[in-house]
């Protein structure tokens, strides 16, 4: 590590590193620390990145897609910026404690320069808080909870994706127009809880009523009782704020009950992969849906990115690939601009930075910038299923189309309402 003047820095991370090693092999830990100090660490031409995410469990498909996107970004950045990027991975499962162990190991043993990854907001918050406390930059790649850039924000934890409230505001207007009363089913953990709050706020701000909510455990197989409750509430619409592939189960069970024709169904965060497990005729089960990105975004840069993902990854392109790509892109560029991997230096290059790299075009254009609460303000989209005969499967699945694009500034919470006091 180096300070602004290029001198080695004795940071808490070096201490952690040496302490951990010393605990295991005594003086060897000290020599490791001394070696690190003497070696500097500011050499941004040779970067070591930790990618901790769900590679097993119910979020595995999301985690792997993010990692695939990050690897593609690393390849692009190596070519463009003449840097070397080595990615070390850690499987967090869907367990905050496991996530913490993995990131600690990557930092203290693998000596990574900065970290990224994560799907579950609970896991990401645990890793991000620890990383920040220890002066390690961490991109919460796929964590959409408002807490990440809100009440639980941390100096060196960043939210490169749109927060729940941004996506809730994206579909808020449509939900307000679609019904006067709503019932919300949400996954009962950080992401779902903040999603429920955000959607409730969007509806109440529009003068509508949330007549009931149901907290469903996650992961869960049987959503029937919650759907029964929603159907009994006489609400005009049902918000299905259900995480991951569980939404596919819930959608299947909603269709099996035949309720999709009687209610307006909405979900603020549509991920294409969830719907690829449904029949095409049922992919349009949601009447109102928001999205960070997807193959629905139709421009040259976005289409090229999607084609490259289709060629290089196991799954067809969807938002998690982009989030992995965006995390790597933004973190590496910040380090290169700062000519340092020190967390403070990277933050100096991130906060207030207006994104101008090609990720901006891939995302669909529009202003993108990092705010003081470490949120990447960016455009969001409302989408709908294409007519069945227009759904494409080759060279990759494209089942949805955008109906409206929202500027980030129009959907993001005012800074004063985030509960984050970073400056």
């Amino acid at each position: 590590m180096a300070t602004d003047d290029g001198q080695p820095r004795v940071c808490r991370r070096n201490v952690l590193q040496s302490a951990g090693a010393a605990g295991a092999v005594g003086l060897a830990g000290l020599s490791g620390c001394l070696s690190s100090l003497s070696g500097g660490g500011s050499d941004v031409s040779d970067l070591s990145v930790g990618y901790t995410t769900s590679l097993s469990g119910p979020f595995a498909v999301f985690g792997q897609a993010g990692l695939d996107g990050a690897e593609l970004a690393a390849a692009d950045l190596e070519e463009e910026l003449d840097v070397s990027i080595d990615i070390s991975t850690g499987d967090t499962e869907v367990n905050p404690s496991t996530g913490l162990q993995r990131i600690k190991r990557l930092v203290t043993e693998e000596e990574i320069d900065f970290a990224m990854g994560g799907v579950s907001s609970s896991v990401a918050l645990k890793m991000g808080t620890w990383a920040s406390d220890n002066s390690v930059t961490y991109m919460a790649t796929g964590a959409h909870s408002d807490a990440v850039s809100g009440g639980s924000c941390a100096t060196h934890m960043y939210q490169p994706t749109a927060a729940n409230s941004m996506l809730a505001n994206t579909i808020g207007e449509q939900m307000v127009g679609a019904g006067d009363s709503w019932y919300l089913i949400y996954s009962d953990y950080t992401w779902g809880q903040t999603a429920q709050q955000a959607v409730t706020s969007a509806l109440e701000d529009g003068g509508k009523e949330v007549v009931g909510t149901a907290a469903a455990p996650f992961p869960n197989d049987d959503y029937t009782p919650y759907l029964n409750e929603a159907a009994d509430s006489d609400a005009d619409g049902i918000g299905m704020l259900i995480a991951g592939l569980d939404l596919r189960k819930a959608a299947n069970q909603a269709m099996a009950k035949g309720i999709q024709d009687d209610y307006t169904l909405a979900m603020h965060q549509l991920e294409d992969v969830v719907y690829w497990g449904l029949d095409k005729e049922n992919a349009g089960i949601l009447d109102t849906a928001g999205q960070v990105w997807g193959p629905a975004v139709d421009n040259e840069a976005s289409n090229q990115f999607a084609e490259r993902i289709a060629e290089n990854a196991d799954t067809d392109p969807y938002v998690r690939h982009l989030l992995g790509y965006m995390s790597m892109d933004q973190a590496v560029r910040a380090a290169v601009r700062a000519d340092s991997t020190a967390a403070e230096d990277m933050r100096g290059e991130l906060v207030g930075h207006e994104v101008s790299s090609k990720i901006k075009d891939i995302k669909g254009g529009g202003d993108m910038y990092w705010r003081e609460n470490n949120q990447l303000v960016q455009p969001t989209f409302s989408v709908e299923a294409r007519p069945q005969e227009e759904m494409e499967d080759d060279p990759y699945k494209r089942w949805f189309q955008t109906t409206e694009t929202f500027a980030g500034d129009d959907v993001v919470r005012p800074l004063s309402e985030t509960g984050c006091d970073l400056e």
Binding site: L55, A60, P217, D221, T224, P225, A256, K257, D279
Partner: protein, 343 residues
């Protein structure tokens, strides 16, 4: 039996009930009525849903209960066999391109063979040992099977489409239920009935039960007990796989499903009473109903008492464990367990 003798018998039974039990039963009835009165439509809908879910639980539990009840083996590998059946069905349908109905037949047979291998190579050597030995052995087998499944199929959740004929919903008048769920209930009912007949009404079942009670004497009269025990393990494993196939079609497969449902299956077995097939059936239905109805009942109580705190969010996930806790406190042997067991 005359009317007066029935009345006398009822009085005797009531006399055996302690005031505390009576008060508890009364409170449950009042709470249930409050739940029904508060939301009659939802109450009936959830009651039907609970019945269906309970039947599914029964099917998942039956193989475990069979092996535990008849052979005294705490088969911790039941969850892994259940999961293996689910993953095999995925391969049959997706990788081999065969119909779901083939998977429904092939996967249980293959998993039954795996069960036979486990019984012959591991468990047969442990009969007569302390139960903990069998439990540890099957726990080890669970880890091996889990890792084998992860190695072969990976950890990404998988799924396949249900057969066309079972994709529609069925209108029961008061509510709509997915036809596949009703199919699961039908399969569960058939399997329970078949197992009951096999155990209670056939010479095979008679000799197995005799062997469990006195193995030495049963073998002395010429019964080949090892073969029968192996056949029972085949049956238990095949039923676990059958449940796995149905589960896979309805919910998909993932590498945690074995553990998730094993815990739930043990809860059902404990509540029903270890060793009681009938108990498992009743407990499965009871837990299914409790799971669906508890929130409705609590909402009704909250409404009529004015105590909003009674309407506990997220109570549903806790319900099976609360039922088990209650049963273990008041009747450690379970609802229909053998007297003295765990007491």
């Amino acid at each position: 039996m005359s009317t007066s003798s029935i009345t006398n018998r009822s009085r005797e039974l009531l006399a055996d009930v302690s005031p505390a039990w009576f008060a508890l039963a009364l409170a449950l009835v009042v709470a249930t009525v409050a739940g029904f009165a508060h939301q009659p439509g939802l109450f009936v809908t959830q009651a039907v849903g609970g019945l269906v879910y309970g039947a599914i639980l029964v099917l998942i539990t039956l193989g475990l209960s069979l092996i535990l009840g008849l052979m005294g083996v705490v088969n911790f590998a039941h969850g892994a066999l259940f999961m293996l059946g689910a993953y095999l069905s995925y391969s049959v349908v997706v990788a081999w391109g065969l119909p779901f109905w083939t998977a429904l037949l092939v996967a249980p047979i293959l998993v039954g063979v795996v069960g036979v291998l486990i019984e012959v190579t591991v468990l047969r050597r442990l009969y007569g040992s302390e139960p903990i030995v069998g439990l540890l052995a099957t726990f080890g087998l669970t880890m091996m099977l889990d890792e084998a499944i992860r190695y072969h199929w990976g950890t990404t959740p998988l799924g396949y489409a249900k057969p066309e004929v079972l994709r529609q919903s069925v209108d029961l008048g008061i509510t709509q239920v997915a036809s596949f769920r009703l199919f699961m209930v039908a399969v569960a009912t058939l399997v329970v009935a078949a197992v009951y007949v096999l155990i209670s009404r056939t010479d095979f079942g008679l000799t197995v039960r005799a062997g469990v009670q006195d193995g030495e004497m049963t073998e002395f009269v010429g019964v080949n007990l090892p073969v029968r025990f192996t056949a029972m393990f085949f049956l238990g494993s095949a039923i676990a796989a059958l449940a796995g196939v149905l589960q896979a079609a309805e919910y998909g497969v993932n590498s945690q499903m074995g553990q998730t449902f094993l815990i739930l299956a043990f809860v059902v077995v404990v509540v029903g009473g270890v060793g009681s097939l009938f108990g498992s059936v009743v407990a499965g239905i009871l837990i299914g109903e409790a799971n669906y109805l508890a929130p409705v009942i609590l909402a009704g109580l909250a409404e009529y008492t004015g105590i909003a705190a009674l309407n506990i969010s997220g109570i549903r996930g806790l319900v099976p464990y609360l039922v088990m806790l209650f049963i273990l406190l008041v009747r450690p042997r379970g609802l229909f367990g053998e007297e003295g067991l765990l007491e």
